[in-house]
Every structure is written in structure tokens, then in C-alpha cells.
């Protein structure tokens, strides 16, 4: 059985550490905030200019001046601070954010990431994604292992080399899919390594759905 979206988010939440400053992308990464362990202090950054992002407001308490990077209404906390976009990206580019969790279209075995543009389709823009992957200390991708098209065909997303335009080169440290978890030695020569399997998923299934070259952690190779 492959992991659900919530299970993938819960697995990503295991990368959090007490005191971390974290930026969460849109989609499954947003769900990670539901799995922050009790008693652990994690401060969420929103790149439009806020540290200490609170939960959604109660109905009727929405404030148009208080939104996250997905333009959703949110709330502040006793830990909150506000700042300009320049200060926000000084935090991001300057390496002050500990962890970024984001989605992807493709990831390559060398840590290359593509998640902003499909040539020939209307391009919405990269927003802050290129800055986040270039500057944040640790980058974790959460995505489905393969893409299923409407006609039923599948496309692999873990590749030797991305064929979509890159968001960043040698930037991804970890990929969590619905089938398992890979670690990537993005600056060294260690390549990509399968370190966990979702319950009930076998090595054969991973192999059939992965183009990238990877090694298998000894405890999985059994």
C-alpha cells in the first residue's frame, strides 16, 4: 500500500527538529504543519513577510492584511514578526531557514529540481521557489512517485536528468514519495539512496517506477 497524502506529510514532519525555522510550500507540504510533534517548537516562515505563522482564522476574523504565500488568510502568534520581502529573502538566501519542504514535477539523481515550468504551457512563474532551494539549509521534496496522465499513461518523475527547465541545480537533499524515501548527496558523489519503503511496497515496484540510478540502504536490501 502506497502512503496517503497525510502519511507523506507525517513522514516529512519527522525531518523537523526543535527550534527549526521552516518554510512549507503549497499542497502536501502545507499538511506537514498538522504533524508537528507535541512539545516541539517549530517556527513557520511565509516568504511574503512573516515569521511565526498561525492557523487559519475563525470565521469572521479574517484579515485581508494577514495572508500567507498561498494568499490564504492566516493568524499571528505571540512569536510572530513581520518584515519586508527583501528581509524575507535575506533569511532564505542567507541560509537562516533550516528546512524547506516543497512539491516537485521532477527530481534528478544529482539533486536537480524542476517544479515551475512546462514549456508550451502557460507559465505562472517561479515565485520564491528558486530562492528557497538555493538558500535554505535542507530541501525536502514531497511528491507522488510517478505522474499519471488523463489517458492512463504514466511518466516517471525521479530521473537521471530533469527534462523540464530547472528550479535549481544540485539542491534536493531528500525526496519523500508515496512509495518511499530517498536521500540525495547533492554536493558529493554519493548519489541517490533509497532509505525507506512505504508499508507493503517492494523494491521491484520502486525499480519499475524510477528512472534515476539509486543504491538501496542495507537494511532494505534484505
Amino acid at each position: 500500500m502506497a502512503w496517503t497524502r497525510d502519511q507523506m506529510a507525517a513522514r516529512a514532519a519527522r525531518e523537523l527538529k526543535d527550534g527549526f525555522y521552516v518554510n512549507l510550500g503549497i499542497g502536501i507540504p502545507t499538511l506537514v504543519s498538522n504533524f508537528i510533534p507535541e512539545g516541539m517548537k517549530v517556527i513557520l516562515q511565509s516568504e511574503n513577510g512573516m515569521l511565526g505563522m498561525g492557523p487559519f482564522p475563525y470565521e469572521g476574523d479574517e484579515d485581508a492584511d494577514l495572508i500567507n504565500a498561498g494568499k490564504q488568510t492566516i493568524t499571528e502568534l505571540p512569536t510572530t514578526s513581520y518584515f519586508s520581502s527583501a528581509d524575507s529573502f535575506a533569511m532564505i538566501r542567507g541560509g537562516h531557514i533550516d528546512l524547506s519542504i516543497l512539491g516537485a514535477m521532477q527530481v534528478a539523481e544529482n539533486g536537480d529540481l524542476a517544479n515551475w515550468m512546462i514549456p508550451g504551457k502557460m507559465v505562472k512563474g517561479m515565485g520564491g521557489a528558486m530562492d528557497l532551494v538555493a538558500g535554505v539549509k535542507k530541501v525536502v521534496v514531497v511528491m507522488d512517485h510517478i505522474a499519471k496522465a488523463k489517458d492512463g499513461s504514466i511518466e516517471k518523475k525521479l530521473l537521471h536528468r530533469c527534462n523540464l527547465p530547472l528550479t535549481g541545480s544540485h539542491v534536493v537533499d531528500m525526496v519523500i514519495t508515496d512509495l518511499g524515501v530517498f536521500a540525495i548527496d547533492k554536493h558529493g558523489k554519493g548519489g541517490m539512496r533509497l532509505i525507506e519503503l512505504a508499508e507493503g511496497v517492494g523494491l521491484d515496484e520502486i525499480a519499475a517506477r524510477t528512472e534515476a540510478a539509486y543504491t538501496v540502504a542495507p537494511d532494505l536490501a534484505g
Binding site: N48, A64, E76, S85, G125, D131, A134
Partner: protein, 243 residues
């Protein structure tokens, strides 16, 4: 010199011309200079280059200047909320330059601070770096990006005093402070105007030297793009507390 103007139209009088470059603050529809954008529309000035993180939505914010085809080129990081934008871009009527959001913010900050260019690791190895100088510092590659300035910057602030000192509110700050520094003429629309001395000098975000003109623009209901809420009964459970 009196910086305070009675309405948005008079605040823009004499500084608009066809083909000019305008910076417009805001993130999504949060902290946008909405009344000044409407005055730009009414002025009929055209062939504009607009530097703004987003392009509004259909019918709101910069979306109104797309409807009137007054914009020739946008420099932005994300324009996904605007159908008219897509149509005009695909038909070739509208040019578009994408900048990574942090690079855009820093280009504006640099422009306002008199810094013509800087190096950043954002975009190295991507199409953003194509045609730009890449240089190695301490064993890592960085791409050169240039500073941005504008003929006119339009910003939205919460409070101003008659000196042009500005205070922003919550996440409506975003790009406004940098854009205020990078316009040859910066015009601020503000929700509340105070006499000089009534805002604590320690609380000022943008010093008045950057702001040439101010207009009081008490906003109607502000726009919310994604109204997300939680039920009062499920308070903390839904989010795990420190979120």
C-alpha cells in the same frame, strides 16, 4: 513643501507619461495601491512597464490596467491568478520577464540603494542565469543581477504623517518598503494620515525622504483571494498548536 494631495488623481498629476516604468507594491491583492492604480487607468497613460510581484486578478489591482491594455511589459515573479494576463501574453500583446521573488525584491532594494548589480546563487544552473555573468566566490557559483529603478513607485501604507514617514500593517508590507526607495517619484496611498510627530519615530518603516507625495485613501473592503478559516469548535486540534 506640502506632500499631501487631496485625491489620487492630483497625487499623480504631472508625473505620468507613455512608455514609463512604474513599480507597484503588494503581494497578491495584499497591500496593493489600489486607488493609485485606478487613477493610472483614468489617466489613460499607456505602453507601461510595470514592476510588481504579481499582476492582480481579473478586474482588481493591476488587472484593471490589463483590461485597458495600458501595460506593455510586466516584471514579476508569479502571475498565475490572472486569466486576462494569460490571454494577452499568449497573443503577444504583453511582454513578461519572470524574476525569482527574492531576486526581484533584492533588485528593487539594490536599485533604491544605488547599487547597480549584485551576485546571488538563486537561479544558478537554470534558464534565469542564461546570458548573465556567473562568477565563483568561495567555491560557489553566483549569477549577476542588476538593480531596478522606476520613474514612479506606487505604494500602499497603513499610516503616514505629513512628512511622508510610512508605517505598514502586517503582511501588507511585502514589496512596498523597497519600492518606496526605488522610484524617482514615490507616491504613497495611506489609510490614515497624522501630523508630524504623531507617529513614534522608532516605529517608522519608511522614512519620509523616500516619499514625495501622499494621498489619503481610506480603503473600502479589502480584497481576500483565498478566504480560509477554521471552525470555532475545532480550534487547536486542526493545527497541532504552534503553527
Amino acid at each position: 513643501m506640502n506632500k499631501v494631495h487631496s485625491d489620487a488623481r492630483s497625487a499623480l498629476a504631472g508625473i505620468l507619461k507613455d512608455g514609463m516604468t512604474i513599480m507597484s507594491g503588494g503581494f497578491g491583492l495584499c497591500g496593493i495601491p489600489e486607488s493609485l492604480i485606478l487613477a493610472i487607468r483614468d489617466s489613460g497613460v499607456t505602453n507601461l512597464t510595470v514592476i510588481s510581484n504579481n499582476a492582480g486578478v481579473d478586474g482588481v489591482g493591476l488587472g484593471v490596467l490589463l483590461e485597458t491594455k495600458q501595460i506593455r511589459k510586466m516584471i514579476s515573479s508569479y502571475v498565475g491568478e490572472n486569466k486576462l494576463f494569460a490571454q494577452q501574453f499568449l497573443s503577444g500583446e504583453l511582454q513578461l520577464e519572470f524574476n525569482p521573488q527574492g531576486t526581484l525584491a533584492e533588485r528593487i532594494r539594490a536599485g533604491g540603494a544605488g547599487i547597480p548589480a549584485f551576485f546571488t546563487k538563486t537561479g544558478v544552473g537554470t534558464i534565469i542565469a542564461e546570458g548573465k555573468e556567473v562568477r565563483e566566490f568561495n567555491g560557489e557559483n553566483y549569477v549577476m543581477e542588476t538593480g531596478l529603478v522606476a520613474d514612479v513607485s506606487l505604494v500602499h501604507a497603513w499610516k503616514a504623517d505629513t512628512e511622508g514617514n510610512l508605517v505598514y500593517r502586517k503582511t501588507a508590507r511585502n514589496f512596498n518598503p523597497m519600492m518606496a526607495t526605488a522610484g524617482k517619484v514615490t507616491v504613497a496611498e495611506v489609510e490614515h494620515i497624522f501630523n508630524a510627530g504623531e507617529i513614534d519615530p522608532d516605529h517608522i518603516h519608511t522614512p519620509g525622504i523616500f516619499v514625495k507625495r501622499i494621498v489619503h485613501a481610506p480603503t473600502g473592503p479589502k480584497h481576500i483571494e483565498q478566504r480560509t478559516t477554521r471552525k470555532r469548535t475545532s480550534a487547536a486540534a486542526a493545527t497541532g498548536g504552534e503553527v
